[in-house]
Amino acid sequence: MLEVKDLHVTVEDKAILKGLNLTVQPGEVHAIMGPNGAGKSTLSAVIAGKDGYEVTQGSILFEGQDVLEMEIEERARAGLLLGFQYPIEIPGVKNIYLLKAALNAAREARGEGEIPAPEFMKLVREKSAEMQMDTSFLQRAVNEGFSGGEKKRNEILQMLVLQPKLAMLDEIDSGLDIDAMKVVAKGVNSLRSADRAILLVTHYQRLLNHIEPDRVHVLVDGRIVKSGDKSLALELESRGYDWVLEESVA
C-alpha cells in the first residue's frame, strides 16, 4: 500500500531523513517510535506534501502511484490522510464546512456524486457521538479555542468521516487524558480493516496497549534502524533508545 524507498529529505539544506525505508501493507498497523528530532514528523509531512521539504533522493509510492508527483489535495483524496501532531486553528472556518468540502472532494475523486445533505448530517452526528464530541463543535471554527485533547479528537473525527485508506497519526496520544485516550483509540481501531492501514507515531507504549500494532519501527537520525513486532515497543519502554543506537552502529 505504502512504499517508502531510500528517502532522503533536507529542510533548509539540513539533511533530516537519510535513506528511510518503510513498507506498509493493507490491513496493518505500524508504529513509529524514536527520539525527539529523529524525523518522524518530517516523514509524515513529506508524505502529506508540506512545502519546504526537499526530497533529494528516493521515492514514495501509494498504491503504486508516485506520491511526490501528486498535489497535496490529491494525496488526501486518494486516501492518504495525516493527523497532525499540532493541529492548527483555522479561525472562522466551521468544522462542518471542512468536513463537507473534504468529503465531497474525496467522493468526486472516486467518481461519486455529492453526499446528500440528510445523509451527511446523519454521518457527522454519528461520528461526533463516537468521538464523544457535542454537535456544537461542528458549528465552531476548526480547532479554535479547542483544548489540546479536543483538537486531537477533532483530527480523529475527520478521519472517521473521511475514512482514509492510510491514516498517519502523529502523536495522536499527546495531551490526552486517560478517558480521551480510550475514546481516540476506539476511533482509530474502528478505522482498522483488511483494506486499510494505520501509521502511528508515538512516544509511548500506553497508546499501543489500546491500538495494537503489527509492526514497530525505531526511527533514529533520519533512518529506521530497527523494526520488530509489538514486543519491541515494550522493550523500548523499559530500556530507552540507547541500546538500539549501539546495535545499529555495530
Binding site: G49, I88, G92, V93, L98, K100, A101, A102, A117
Partner: protein, 445 residues
C-alpha cells in the same frame, strides 16, 4: 456648461408646487452645489476617490417607478418586514407594504410627508446633514423629493424590520436619484431599519442618498446599509446619526456591489451613555472602488464607540478606509475602539487605510489599528491535506474572514445573504454556495 450646471439643469424640470420652505432648501442646496462643484482629488476627503465618472455622466431623472413583483423578488430580500420600495428614486406603492405598522410608528414616503406633514418634517430634515457637509449632500438637498421618513413615538418597539428597498433598474438612459431617509427615534424606542440598494444586472445609474437618524434618550436603532447594486452603478451615501443619552446606534455597512461607492458615516454622541457600533464589510472585485469615511464624535463624557471594518479585495479593486474618532475636550471616561482589517486576494488590489484618533481628553480608553494581509498559508495547507483544493481552501478562509464581521449581524436573512454572496461571488474557483446552505441546514436541524 460645466458639470454642476449640467446636473442642476435637471432641476428646472421639477414641479413647482413645493412648499415654500422646501423650495428655499432646494435653492440653498443648488446654490451651494453650483459654488463648490464636484470634489476633486485635491480635496483631502476625496484624495483616493475620483468622482469624474459621476461628474462626466449624463443622468436623467426617472420618469416612473414601474417595476414588477417578479423583478423585485429577483433582487430584494425575502423578509418579514414593513416594506417601502423606491424604484430609481420614485416611490412604488404597489410593491410597498406599510399597512401593518404598529401604533406609534410611521413609515412614510418623503413625497407624502412633505405634502401632508411638512412642518414636522421640516424641523428635522437637514438638521444633521446640511448643504455644507459635502457637495453631494448639497446636490441631494437640491433634488431630494423622495425617500423614507420613519418616526417612532417614545417607547415603541417595532415588531419587524423596516425595510427600505432602493432599486436601480437597467434603463436605456442612465438615471440619478437623490433619496433622503429620515429616522426619528423617540425616547426608548427601538427599530431596525434596512436600506437595501438592490439592482438589476446592467444597471448603470447614479444614487446619491442622505440618511439622518435622530436618537432620543434610550433609543436603539439598528441601521443596515446593504449595497448590492449592479457592477456599473455609481453610489454616494452619507449617514448621519445624532445620539441622546443612553441611546444606541448600531450601523452595519455591507458593501458588495457598485462600481464606485463612497459612504460617509458620522455619529455625534451628545450625552452620557450614548453608544455607537460600526460594523463594515466591503467585498470588491474587478475594478470596483469603495471608499468608507467614518467619523465618531465623542462630544460628551461616558460615551462609547466600537468600530470594526473588514475589506476583502480581489482583482484590481481599490478600497479606502478612513476612520476618525474624535474626543472632545472634557469628554472624560469614554471608550473608543476602532479596527480595520483587510485581505488582499490579488497582487493588483489596493487598499488605503487610515485609522485616526484625535483626543482632547485625558481619561479615555482608546485603541485603533489597521492590518492588511494575505491568507494564512498554513491554514491553506491544513485544508488541502483534507482533500480540499487550494482554490476552495482560499474561498473558505475568505468566507471566514468576512464571518468575523458577519457574526455581529443579528438578522439572519442578511447574514446568510452576505455569506452566500461572498461565497458565491468569489471567482468560480471559489464556489461555496452549496456548502453554506448545508451549514444552515445542519444548524436548523
Amino acid at each position: 456648461m460645466n458639470a454642476p450646471e449640467r446636473f442642476l439643469e435637471r432641476l428646472n424640470a421639477r414641479r413647482e408646487d413645493d412648499p415654500s420652505w422646501v423650495a428655499a432648501r432646494r435653492q440653498a442646496g443648488a446654490a451651494r452645489f453650483a459654488a463648490v462643484g464636484f470634489p476633486t482629488r485635491r480635496d483631502e476627503a476625496w484624495k483616493y476617490t475620483d468622482v469624474r465618472s459621476i461628474a462626466d455622466g449624463d443622468f436623467a431623472l426617472a420618469a416612473d417607478a414601474e417595476f414588477s413583483p417578479e423583478r423585485l423578488a429577483a433582487c430584494a430580500l425575502e423578509l418579514d418586514a414593513h416594506r417601502l420600495v423606491l424604484v430609481d428614486g420614485r416611490f412604488n406603492a404597489e410593491l410597498s407594504s406599510l399597512d401593518a405598522l404598529p401604533a406609534g410608528v410611521s413609515v412614510t414616503p418623503l413625497s407624502q410627508a412633505l405634502e401632508s406633514n411638512h412642518e414636522q418634517v421640516g424641523g428635522s430634515l437637514g438638521r444633521l446633514a446640511g448643504v455644507d457637509f459635502s457637495a453631494f449632500t448639497a446636490l441631494n438637498t437640491a433634488f431630494a423629493d423622495e425617500g423614507a421618513v420613519v418616526r417612532l413615538a417614545p417607547g415603541t418597539v417595532v415588531d419587524k424590520p423596516i425595510y427600505v428597498v432602493l432599486v436601480s433598474r437597467a434603463n436605456a438612459q442612465a438615471v440619478m436619484s437623490h433619496p433622503r431617509v429620515l429616522i426619528e427615534a423617540g425616547a426608548r424606542s427601538e427599530a431596525t431599519v434596512i436600506e437595501h440598494y438592490a439592482g438589476e444586472d446592467g444597471a448603470a445609474n447614479f444614487t446619491n442618498v442622505v440618511t439622518e437618524a435622530l436618537l432620543e434618550r434610550g433609543a436603539i436603532v439598528n441601521h443596515y446599509k446593504l449595497q448590492e447594486a449592479a457592477s456599473g452603478d455609481l453610489h454616494v451615501a452619507s449617514i448621519h446619526a445624532d445620539q441622546g443619552r443612553d441611546s444606541r446606534f448600531n450601523s452595519f455597512n455591507l458593501n458588495l456591489g457598485g462600481s464606485l461607492v463612497r459612504t460617509d458615516l458620522v455619529t455625534d454622541l451628545n450625552a452620557e451613555g450614548a453608544e455607537a457600533a460600526y460594523y463594515g464589510l466591503f467585498f470588491l472585485q474587478g475594478r470596483q472602488h469603495v471608499d468608507n469615511h467614518t467619523l465618531v464624535n465623542h462630544n460628551a463624557p461616558r460615551t462609547f464607540s466600537n468600530e470594526s471594518y473588514k475589506g476583502i479585495l480581489d482583482d484590481r479593486s481599490h478600497g479606502v478606509f478612513n476612520g476618525k474618532v474624535y474626543v472632545k475636550k472634557d469628554a472624560q471616561q469614554i471608550e473608543a475602539y476602532q479596527n480595520n482589517a483587510n485581505l488582499l486576494l490579488s497582487d493588483r488590489a489596493e487598499i488605503d487605510t487610515k485609522p485616526e484618533l484625535v483626543i482632547y481628553a485625558d481619561d479615555v480608553k482608546c485603541s485603533h489599528g489597521a492590518t492588511t494581509g494575505q491568507l494564512d498559508e498554513d491554514a491553506v495547507y491544513a485544508l488541502r491535506t483534507r482533500g480540499i483544493d487550494a482554490a476552495m481552501a482560499r474561498g473558505l478562509l475568505t468566507l471566514a474572514f468576512a464571518g468575523e464581521v458577519m457574526e455581529q449581524v443579528k438578522l439572519s436573512e442578511i447574514a446568510e445573504r452576505v455569506e452566500r454572496a461572498v461565497a458565491g461571488r468569489l471567482p468560480e474557483r471559489f464556489n461555496l454556495a452549496d456548502l453554506v446552505e448545508t451549514a444552515e441546514a445542519v444548524q436548523e436541524a
